[in-house]
């Protein structure tokens, strides 16, 4: 941690970067910190509790400005950064990525190839929570799944924390804000909520890197991250992707193959 603070302070004082986005101790758990000078870098922390996906900030122009900046990134954030890069949202010249590896060493990435090589060592696996809920859902029949999700959706009040917390939801105007036509009813109601989450899942197909930020952000505890996660797991073999690895061949729904297989079109 000291190494990270020192390096961040150095980067800032030497003017290599104008901003370091990292974590500081929060009131309940670590929270995002924006260091613009070497003094504030003293507050930086980086440990296993730091899982908020900071990649959500790196596409916000009003925040990061025009100059080069650095971001501290655990694996899940690195995956998001790779996906953002594949979607042409980032440039190597502007971004410096810092992480602490398993042996506690500070790693610094200046190219996306380096990040890709590093991320490739880690397999994306379901955690205990994900496995618990998903195996329950997988054991349900269709009617049970409908009941389960409608109950969950009835709690949604459309605060859009899921959208706000997702690093890949960077559209300046979201489809829910389009009212000609009104694709998704803007008020919170079970079906309107369901439509929103189905829509979100569809927009995430082949893009979601299962960082869990949306589910973590949901104030009413809907496991919405598992919708996009399950989609990622199920669609990866269909379209030839590796979950958690960037879609170098293009996003699933903006590309196609002659031999895409299905059994349901008659």
């Amino acid at each position: 941690m000291k190494k990270l603070r020192d390096r961040a302070a150095e980067l800032l004082s030497q003017g290599v970067v104008s901003l370091v986005i990292g974590y500081e101790e929060g009131t309940k758990r670590p929270r995002p910190l924006f260091c613009r000078n070497s003094e504030s870098a003293e507050k930086l922390i980086f440990d296993s509790r730091c899982f908020h996906n900071l990649a959500v900030y790196i596409t916000k122009k009003e925040l990061v400005g025009k100059e080069r900046f650095a971001v501290t990134a655990p694996i899940s954030t690195l995956r998001s950064i790779m996906q953002l890069y594949v979607e042409n949202q980032l440039s190597e010249e502007k971004l410096l990525v810092l992480t602490v590896d398993l042996s506690g060493e500070l790693r610094e990435f200046t190219t996306f190839d380096e990040i890709a090589a590093y991320v490739a060592q880690f397999e994306l696996k379901r955690g205990e929570r994900e496995q618990g809920i998903l195996s329950k859902i997988e054991a349900m029949d269709r009617a049970e799944r409908w009941k389960f999700w409608m109950e969950e959706m009835s709690h949604c009040f459309k605060c859009y924390a899921c959208r706000s917390a997702c690093p890949l939801c960077y559209c300046s105007k979201c489809v829910v804000e389009v009212n000609r036509p009104q694709w998704i009813n803007p008020w919170p109601a079970p079906l309107a909520n369901m439509e929103w989450h189905i829509n979100r899942a569809m927009h995430m197909v082949g893009r979601c890197t299962a960082c869990g930020a949306c589910g973590d952000a949901c104030p009413v505890g809907i496991p919405i991250d598992l919708i996009t996660r399950k989609m990622m797991e199920d669609m990866a073999p269909e379209f030839g992707y590796v979950p958690g690895q960037p879609a170098k061949q293009g996003n699933a729904l903006s590309s196609w193959k002659l031999d895409d297989r299905e059994q349901f079109i008659r």
Partner: protein, 336 residues
Amino acid sequence: METKYISQSGIEQWFNAIVISGKRVFAPVNSRGQVDFKLVKKLSEVADEYIQTTQSIKASVYPKAEVLFSYEKVNGKVTLTDFDPESVPETVLWKVHPCDAAGFKPLSAIFNWDTADKLHNAHLVKTSVVSFSCAAADESCFCTSVNGSPGNTAGSDIQLTMLPDGGAIVEILTAKGETLVALMPNVFEADKGEKKEKYLVDLLARFNLEEVNAKLNKAFNSTVWKEQSERCLGCGACAFVCPTCACFDIQEDAHGSKGRRIRCWDACGFAMFTLHTSGHNPREHQSQRWRQRILHKFSYMPERLSVVGCTGCGRCSRACPVDMNILEHITSIAKQ
């Protein structure tokens, strides 16, 4: 106001009597890993060990989405069907925290400012609040800093203070409260002279409201808004869990020749909230929107409506995905 005693078994009998009377009873229920208000039939369903429900009781007097009126077009002629206050069922909110009940006052102040809000008032009339004073609090709670207290009775029709024997001190505060008592009068015994204060959590005030107000009056151009809001993601979680946030949107649900006009929750933190049709947005940056949230609650509402827009329930701090802690932020403004 009258004070009585009710025993543990008396509470259950009374609760059952309320349910049998046909009123809907909503109470905190622990399900899906969260404690929140739900329709209940049995006292055993009500949650015990928790500090705060995720959502406030706001939705009972200001639903998430509600039909203002419906319309039908036939051969170019339009007929309107007004909202019917009689369609609102009698509702009892059970085991409400004082900070939640206190939220009714600022809510009503907004809805009835100048023009009365028929819908809100219809819900208000049909809703009775049975609050439970607080014996516990956590680091997000700060009711005592915003004119509240763990035993505050504002907004409650009846308040119970739980006693070690499982019974409770009952404060019957309003006529609505008396109506509830009348459903099972024999379980209410004479007051045993127990002091309510003995059973309340001790919660030190964390800031001085007047001081904060004075600071805020000069803080519009402060850099504090940008500093505090840098990590804000601009979602509506804080506004939607808040017992006093009342900003809303009016939307149309059209189905061919029929439709309904709907009022639904909205939040000043959303980027689109103030966007003009021309593309001009008076509150373009998140820092402006964060400033609006704080100033509206702690400066504009006290001045215009003579009521603070915060009851210190701490829900926004708990709900925020990036730890925008309102207590921390207000305290730091007070210290400036």
